[in-house]
Subunit: 218 residues, 2 copies
């Protein structure tokens, strides 16, 4: 396994390759490499049985592939917690360094780090940290676009993208914030939230889809 292959598997996973077939095109855009390089890497991962491949259609992770993706995500997210909590990184700064550290982290290192951080369950964006064995803890979040009007909900996880995180900072939307939905415009139109104090925030459909929430259960 090389950093390259690991990043490729992670990209497939993040595009939904654990449950559906991902086109080369999507990987080309996501990884910013040539189409030829994607075809080539596909062949390599196929030989190692980490993906299945339907020619001219795309690739899907095998169970081994999914396990590797989860283990890599575990490393990535534990590092993010460390950078955020111990080294004082900002929300939107942690990703880049974690993306490098994840590939040079021995099992010993990750488990010691996990202990040192008191076994965190979520990364700084609310992403759940996979278990040591490569399984995923249960979560009950859903996209903000699926919220019903009236019921109060909490922000549980947001997309780990630097620009998007900056946008949320502008809008003053934070993990754990509590809102109710007051308006949804049709045809994937803007969504308006209201804080308990009555402040209103309007965001687009695409942005809302990058925010995962859960209903408040009291």
């Amino acid at each position: 396994m090389t950093p390259n292959k690991e990043n490729f598997i992670k990209a497939i996973y993040e595009l939904g390759g654990d449950h559906s077939v991902i086109s080369n095109k999507k990987l080309v855009n996501n990884l910013s490499i040539s189409a030829a390089s994607v075809t080539e890497m596909n062949a390599r991962l196929l030989k190692e049985k980490l993906i299945s491949h339907v020619p001219y259609r795309g690739v899907k992770l095998t169970s081994s592939g999914i396990r590797i993706a989860h283990q890599l995500k575990r490393k990535h997210r534990i590092w993010e917690v460390f950078l955020f909590e111990k080294l004082g990184y900002d929300w939107n700064e942690v990703h880049a360094d974690a993306d490098l550290l994840e590939h040079v982290s021995s099992d010993l290192l990750i488990e010691r780090l996990n202990d040192f951080l008191d076994e965190p369950k979520f990364d700084p964006h609310g992403g759940v940290i996979p278990n040591k064995d490569g399984s995923l803890p249960e979560t009950s979040t859903f996209p903000l676009t699926d919220v019903g009007t009236g019921k109060p909900f909490k922000i549980k996880e947001v997309d780990d993208d630097k620009e998007f995180l900056n946008y949320l900072l502008e809008k003053d939307i934070q993990l754990g914030d509590r809102y109710t939905l007051t308006d949804v415009e049709p045809f994937d139109g803007p969504i308006t939230l209201e804080t308990p104090e009555g402040r209103q925030i309007t965001i687009g459909h695409k942005a809302a889809f990058k925010i995962l929430v859960d209903y408040v259960t009291e």
Copy 2:
């Protein structure tokens, strides 16, 4: 710069390449790669002006090369402090992980880590941590083989080699220990130390050379 090149420069440095010409043979042994690969890497580093090269003689670091070696050592040693102090690694466990982490450490990461660790001056083996600008703090240590009989001295630094560290553990020799020299056999023979409590320890000349000390000044 790649991890490979960085390790090569570090190897040259550790063999004394900051002040003398290092033969290919030494690098072959140290890095466990073929002689052909050393010749090849020499050519690459020469082109980047990180080393000077005397054909059939060997290589020496330029000032740029030395600066890179020091900055890498800084990263390596700061990571070692972290692994040792915060993650509970043993003395002889820190090196392997630090050797990987050093190549994926942004300046931001290292400086934040340095702050988090309260700006340590030495790594867990007593190695001095180079300054941010690539310069070396002054130290006044010398090999145990050069100690005079009678004068008390302290263990300041030991060779960062797993087997050697295990040997020191067996002999119960630790950083900061205070001894006096009671016997030195001629022809690079064994050296005998005595603790303040009168316990005697005898070690060979080669091992003694891997231990740096300084006289106690009270």
